[in-house]
C-alpha cells in the first residue's frame, strides 16, 4: 500500500482488510495457567520478583475481574484480590510460546512483524489470491484453534483484521478475551462511535488533553478533524498528519527503526547499598550490556550512565570515545570513568548503563595493534566457554554475586534479545 504522505486530506481507505493483529490474552499469566493446570480459573499475577513491592507484570483475567491491574505492587494487588497467586516469570516458557505463535503466523504469510513478546501482525497483502483464498475471519478462527492445539487448550488470543496496523490493533481490543473482529470502511464510524478517545492505542491522558483543547472529545470527532488541524494545532508536528491517515485506514506504522542504543538498568535490591555492592552491580550491568552488543554484532563509541537517588535526585553523564569497544572489560572500564564522577550525596536507588554511537562490529577484522587482537581473542574464547557451559561460567570477579540477584527480566517491547535472554535464564 503506498504511503500517503503526499496528500494531506485523504478519504477513508476502502481497500479490503488484509492486516491481521494477533494479541495473546494476558500472555504470561495465561501461559502459567496453561503450564500449571491447578492455577486455571484462579486469580494469578506474574511478577519479576516475589517481594511485597514487586510489580505485577501480567494478571490473569480472573485477577483483572477483581480489579488487579498491570503495574500494581503486590501489596496493592492483594488488598484488592486477597487470594491472588503471585508467580515468578519464567522466560524460556514464554519464549517457546512466542516461537510457536511466530511459526503459526508465518505459515500464512511471509510478511510477519512481531510487535512484542505477545503480539504480532500478519500482512496478507499479496497472498490472498494464491495462498489464502478463504476469508480472513475464517483464517483467524483457524489460528485460534491451532494455538489451542499446538500450545495448549487454555491458550486464547484476540484477533483484529483491518486495512492497516492501527485499526487491526483496535479491532483486536474490542472484545477481550478471545475476540475476533474486523474493521473496514463500512463499519469504521459505527465502531468509533462506541469508543472513548483513550481506547485508541497511542492516546493516553496527555494526547487526550491535547485533543480536548482543540474541541475533540470523541474518536468520531477525531476522525472528522482535518489533517491541517491535527498537524498545526493538536500535535504541532507531522504526528498529526499521521493520526489523520492512521484513523482512515492508511498505513503509517510499518516503519522499522534501527537500534540506536543498547543498555541495561537495575533497581537496587538494597536501599542503602555499599560502594562494593554498587560496583558489583555496575560490573554485571556492563557485562550484560556488552553481551547484548556482541549478540547484535555491534560495537559502540559512546557510553551513558545514570543513577537515580533515594532522595529523588537524578544524575547522568555520557562520554564519546575515539575508539570503539565491545568487550565486557572495556564497557566496564569506560562506565567506571563516569561512575567515579557521580555525586555522593545520597544512596543510589537505580543504576543504568547504555552504549550509543553503534556501528557494525569489527571483531572479524584482524587489527594492526596486537593488544586489540588479544582483546578480541580473549572475548571470543570467553564467549565460547559461556556458550558451551552456560552464561557466566567465566565472569568478572567484580560481578560475582550479582548474577543471583540481578535476574534478567522479560522484555516488554522489543524481542530483539529474546534468544540471548533465554540462554541465560
Amino acid at each position: 500500500m503506498p504511503h500517503p504522505q503526499s496528500s494531506l486530506h485523504l478519504p477513508v481507505n476502502c481497500a479490503s482488510a488484509e492486516v491481521m493483529h494477533i494479541d495473546l490474552n494476558s500472555c504470561f499469566a495465561m501461559v502459567e495457567q496453561q503450564a500449571r493446570p491447578l492455577l486455571r480459573g484462579r486469580p494469578v499475577g506474574v511478577t519479576n520478583r516475589k517481594t511485597a513491592n514487586a510489580c505485577v507484570v501480567a494478571a490473569s483475567y480472573e485477577a483483572k475481574n477483581l480489579g488487579v491491574k498491570v503495574g500494581m505492587t503486590f501489596s496493592e494487588a492483594t488488598s484488592l484480590a486477597p487470594g491472588l497467586i503471585l508467580v515468578e516469570t519464567d522466560p524460556p516458557k514464554y519464549h517457546w510460546v512466542y516461537q510457536k505463535l511466530v511459526e503459526i503466523m508465518r505459515s500464512y504469510s511471509p510478511n510477519v512483524t512481531m510487535k512484542s513478546i505477545d503480539e504480532g501482525v500478519v500482512d496478507f497483502s499479496g497472498t490472498i489470491e494464491h495462498i489464502n483464498r478463504r476469508p480472513l475471519p475464517e483464517i483467524g478462527s483457524e489460528i485460534k484453534a491451532r494455538l489451542k492445539d499446538e500450545v495448549g487448550t487454555w491458550m486464547s488470543c484476540n484477533i483484529g483484521i483491518a486495512p492497516n496496523r492501527f485499526l487491526a490493533k483496535l479491532a483486536a481490543s474490542l472484545h477481550k478475551p478471545d475476540g475476533l473482529d474486523t474493521i473496514n470502511h463500512k463499519n469504521l464510524r459505527q465502531i468509533l462511535s462506541t469508543l472513548e478517545l483513550t481506547d485508541l492505542s497511542g492516546i493516553a491522558e496527555r494526547n487526550q488533553a491535547r485533543l480536548n483543547s482543540a474541541g475533540i472529545y470523541t474518536p468520531l470527532q477525531f476522525l472528522d478533524a482535518s489533517a491541517e488541524l491535527l498537524k498545526r494545532r493538536v500535535f504541532k508536528s507531522v504526528c498529526g498528519e499521521d493520526w489523520h491517515h492512521r484513523l482512515r485506514g492508511w498505513e503509517v506504522d510499518s516503519q522499522e527503526w534501527a537500534t540506536k542504543s543498547i543498555g541495561r538498568q537495575y533497581v537496587l535490591e538494597d536501599r542503602q547499598p555499599s560502594e562494593e555492592v554498587l560496583r558489583s552491580r555496575l560490573s554485571y550491568l556492563c557485562e550484560t550490556t556488552a553481551m547484548k552488543l556482541r549478540y547484535k554484532c555491534m560495537s559502540a563509541r559512546g557510553i551513558f550512565l545514570y543513577i537515580r537517588y533515594a532522595n529523588g535526585d537524578y544524575w547522568y553523564d555520557r562520554k564519546k570515545f575515539k575508539s570503539n569497544f565491545f568487550s565486557n572489560a572495556e564497557v566496564y572500564r569506560r562506565a567506571t570513568l563516569l561512575f567515579n564522577r557521580r555525586p555522593l550525596d545520597a544512596y543510589a536507588l537505580e543504576i543504568g548503563v547504555s552504549c550509543y554511537g553503534l556501528e557494525p562490529s569489527s571483531m572479524n577484522q584482524v587489527s594492526l595493534l596486537d593488544e586489540v587482537n588479544k582483546e578480541v581473542w580473549l572475548t571470543e574464547a570467553v564467549d565460547r566457554i559461556n556458550s558451551q557451559f552456560g552464561e557466566f561460567t567465566v565472569t568478572h570477579a567484580s560481578s560475582l554475586g550479582s548474577e543471583a540477584v540481578v535476574k534478567q527480566k522479560i522484555p516488554f517491547g522489543s524481542t530483539r534479545y529474546f534468544e540471548l535472554l533465554c540462554s541465560r535464564a
Partner: protein, 101 residues
C-alpha cells in the same frame, strides 16, 4: 503467595503416553516413581525446550490433579529430574498428593 516446593531430585519415569500436538506425535511422561511412591499424571500443562549451556533440556509441566509437577528431561544424559511441586493447596482438599510432607 505462590505455593511451590523446589526439590531438584532424580526420578524414574516408568510409563509414557503419546499425544498429537500439531502435526507430530509427541511423547509425555505418564507415571513417575520417586522414593518408593508413584504419581500418575492425568494432564499435561506445557512442554517446552530450554538450554543449559549446550545441553538441551525438555521441561514438562504435568499434573496429577493434586499438585503441579515440573519435570526436566536432559537430552544428553537421558535423565529425569523432578524440579518442583506446586499448587498443592489449590487441589481438592480430600486427597493429599503423593509427595506432600
Amino acid at each position: 503467595m505462590e505455593d511451590i516446593v523446589t526439590l531438584n531430585k532424580d526420578v524414574s519415569i516408568v510409563a509414557y503416553y503419546f499425544h498429537n500436538r500439531g502435526s507430530l506425535l509427541k511423547c509425555f511422561p505418564k507415571k513417575m516413581e520417586y522414593e518408593g511412591k508413584s504419581v500418575t499424571f492425568t494432564k499435561t500443562g506445557l512442554r517446552h525446550p530450554t538450554k543449559k549451556g549446550n545441553r538441551m533440556i525438555h521441561v514438562f509441566d504435568m499434573t496429577d490433579g493434586q499438585a503441579d509437577y515440573r519435570l526436566e528431561f536432559d537430552a544428553e544424559s537421558l535423565s529425569w529430574t523432578l524440579v518442583s511441586i506446586a499448587d498443592m493447596h489449590y487441589a481438592t482438599p480430600s486427597i493429599k498428593p503423593a509427595f506432600a510432607s
